[in-house]
Symmetry: C2
Subunit: 449 residues, 2 copies
């Protein structure tokens, strides 16, 4: 019977453990978790800060009890200190400082990522926050409760930056978002980002683009944030949300090869170069299905998939990770932005000949009120006519996020624009049109190719 040890209790680790239990209930995997928050939804942190989540304990995908009931041996507040591949052991240290050795036959490393800390002078001042783990979340919330800040600067207009812009606005702060790129949400094309920016502005948020923050000064209770293009803003708090970097120190110590941004190199079976050591989640390079190369994309959905593959293979399976499409969605105020595949910019860089269409229509038959406008940008390759990517912006609850998933399925199967009209999608007047908006958009793109 296999002795499986998993380092890390977030998405990848839990997913691996559950898959093992599913496939072989005789195996009890051991999971080493540094803190006391296994399987917390870090995607939910902005909603705790906005108070839409009323109780932080609710953020657990599964409670400690759930995990133990599932047959997983949890070592909470145990830090994996060192790995010894030659004798197949992990040394862990508990809160008391006691060290013990945990044997493994197969090891799965899911050490995740940490917030990227950009080189900004003064970034360590009190009042400057990051948001990745529960303790970060508590710190921000405590600051809001005790200091009652009136203004915030958010550095970075990615997903977390956008969600936190809403969150802090809901807590009564006036928010200024600063982004080094020339639009918000660099994961969508610039023209599409402009629509999102307009929506932010309508919700009282100021957005400054093309600004690289260089320093933060502290004068009394005020933080003075300065950047390129003469940007200078006095604020009560700063949130740094410029992405994350893989947490790979431990794995590197045993010689696991690293690549992009220092993430572990893995093959599509989630094996590292060290025998019997797998890695999955935010700490690894991720195979991109369209680019047909590795990339770094720390997303919970991917971590779940990779963890599941690693778990299956660790107990003798032969499953391959099918690759990511970078599918993502985010709710910002009453809108949802979603994307999958490659945007035009990414497609250009990858050597495709991308052609895009911007298509605007109603989410369902306009005669059944209220219908809402939905904006779809689709990109295809001029040469192969295959759909490369899609971006959608629409009102919350107009099925934007699952509409992007129809594209995700089509791109997964490398469908051409013409074939996309063959999909037998559902229609009823209160929810769609006889050709769903996604098909109308692709038909419009077909006319351009």
């Amino acid at each position: 019977m296999s002795n499986i040890v998993i380092i890390g209790g977030s998405d990848a680790g839990i997913s691996a453990a559950l898959r093992i239990r599913e496939l072989n209930p005789e195996i009890i995997p051991t999971m080493i978790v540094a803190d006391s928050f296994p399987n917390f939804s870090i995607c939910g942190l902005p909603y705790y800060i906005s108070k839409e989540v009323t109780c932080w304990e609710n953020l657990a995908h599964r409670t400690r009890q759930d995990i133990e009931n599932a047959g997983i041996n949890l070592l909470l507040e145990h830090t994996a200190q060192s790995i010894h591949p030659e004798r197949k052991q992990v040394n862990v240290v508990d809160k008391s400082g006691a060290i013990k050795a945990v044997d493994y036959d197969k090891l799965i490393v899911g050490t995740g990522a940490i917030s990227l800390k950009p080189k900004i002078i003064g970034i360590d001042f009190p009042g400057v926050f990051f948001l990745r783990w529960m303790p970060d979340c508590f710190k921000v919330d405590e600051f809001l409760n005790k200091q009652s800040p009136k203004t915030a600067v958010i550095i970075g207009a990615g997903y977390i930056g956008m969600e936190m812009a809403e969150s802090l606005t809901k807590r009564g702060l006036k928010v200024n978002v600063v982004e080094s790129a020339d639009s918000v949400m660099p994961s969508v094309d610039v023209d599409f980002g402009i629509k999102i920016r307009e929506m932010l502005t309508q919700n009282g948020i100021t957005v400054n683009n093309n600004i690289a923050i260089e320093s933060i000064d502290k004068i009394g209770d005020q933080l003075i944030v300065k950047g390129t293009n003469n940007y200078e803003m006095a604020t009560d708090m700063v949130l740094v949300a410029v992405g994350s970097v893989p947490n790979t120190t431990l794995g590197q110590s045993i010689g696991i090869d690293t690549g992009i941004k220092g993430a572990f190199k893995v093959n599509i079976k989630m094996e590292t170069n060290i025998p019997d050591v797998y890695a999955a989640g935010d700490c690894v390079e991720t195979w991109h299905r369209i680019l047909k190369s590795y990339t770094y994309l720390p997303l919970g959905t991917i971590a779940h998939k990779q963890g599941r593959v690693a778990g299956e293979n660790a107990i003798g399976g032969n499953k391959e990770f099918a690759g990511t499409l970078g599918t993502q969605s985010v709710k910002i105020f009453d809108k949802v932005v979603a994307r999958t595949g490659l945007n035009e910019n990414e497609a250009n860089k990858a050597g495709f000949q991308p052609v895009s269409v911007d298509f605007e229509t109603w989410d369902h038959k306009v005669y059944f009120p209220p219908a809402e406008k939905i904006y779809i940008r689709v990109t295809a390759d001029q040469k192969s006519k295959k759909i490369l990517g899609a971006q959608i912006l629409g009102t919350y609850k107009t099925e934007v996020s699952k509409r992007i998933d129809i594209f995700a399925a089509a791109i997964f199967h490398e469908l051409t624009v013409k074939e996309f009209s063959d999909y037998d999608l559902s229609y009823t007047p209160p929810l769609s049109s006889p050709w769903d908006p996604v098909q109308m958009a692709v038909q419009s793109l077909e006319r351009k190719l």
Copy 2:
């Protein structure tokens, strides 16, 4: 330059004409429409009766002007009286009774379907209605306005029956639905239908199953509806919604072969057996992608696809109809029911070895209120492990209809249950989970196979 004539101005006809215009703007197709309502959304009729659609003109997918502006030659209120393949002409008669001949190089027949009129004694009494075309709709509305009926019996618990049950309830009537099958909505499995039935009951509708209606008597203003199992109900009005039959008299007169329910036989290029004559929409047999045989499924989405294929091929294209999966969705009160592929019953009949799972979860992370319960039934084949079909019931605006479309895509590509977890679907806490409910359901089914 090709002379294309289309008989019928509903989904199939319009879709064919628009495809022709899209591919070759030099061709001006001629469209013969018997009434003055081209391209009306017959799926929208229940919402006109419920008064959610305030103005019947809004039910037009496109106005007469839109259609003419698109470069289509409309002959409204012209009935195609006869077809003469030997000289490639259609004889049409206008309102005045004048007959003229219209020449064609290629003819597309999209004569649609008519309401199925079951053999029920007294079915022609005033107060007994059907609902398929605009005039039907006006008749029902006029009756409601003038007679102020208090009660209605709806014969048939299919899609239109369900929508009309809601519609008439909204107009203040007490509704009794009578269905010959042992559950409502025979397009879903019985256990799933029971959930829908419960929901109807909660909305004040009485449902009687396993009853075949045999007669309608008229006593004063009351209609007495009688059926098997001693069913007897006095009511102010009756709506017969037991399906439709293809309208093929004209086509049969020139020898177009017919099959199931008398629908035209066509190949996957939408060609009939008569040279240069295509047919599409509710008047034809439809290729089923999973059954790999023909079936009869009069749905707007299918008519659009078949029309598009017929249009393309009529001007020299070589497009094949990819086949239907029977994807459908319907909103009933605050719920949505959607289905695609084969249900277990259909799969059994087709010789598969179906295994199903009933899975209940939240539409999105429950920590972000309000999350809603969603019920998913998935069926796969024990032998091939391929997903055969899915059924979903959930609250309106929980992306039920586009979630069924993810299944529709997967089934289109004949995905196995295991491969379904490879789909890179979108996640954000207010809209989904790291594994979307559809994937959780399939993973649950995987454990049973």
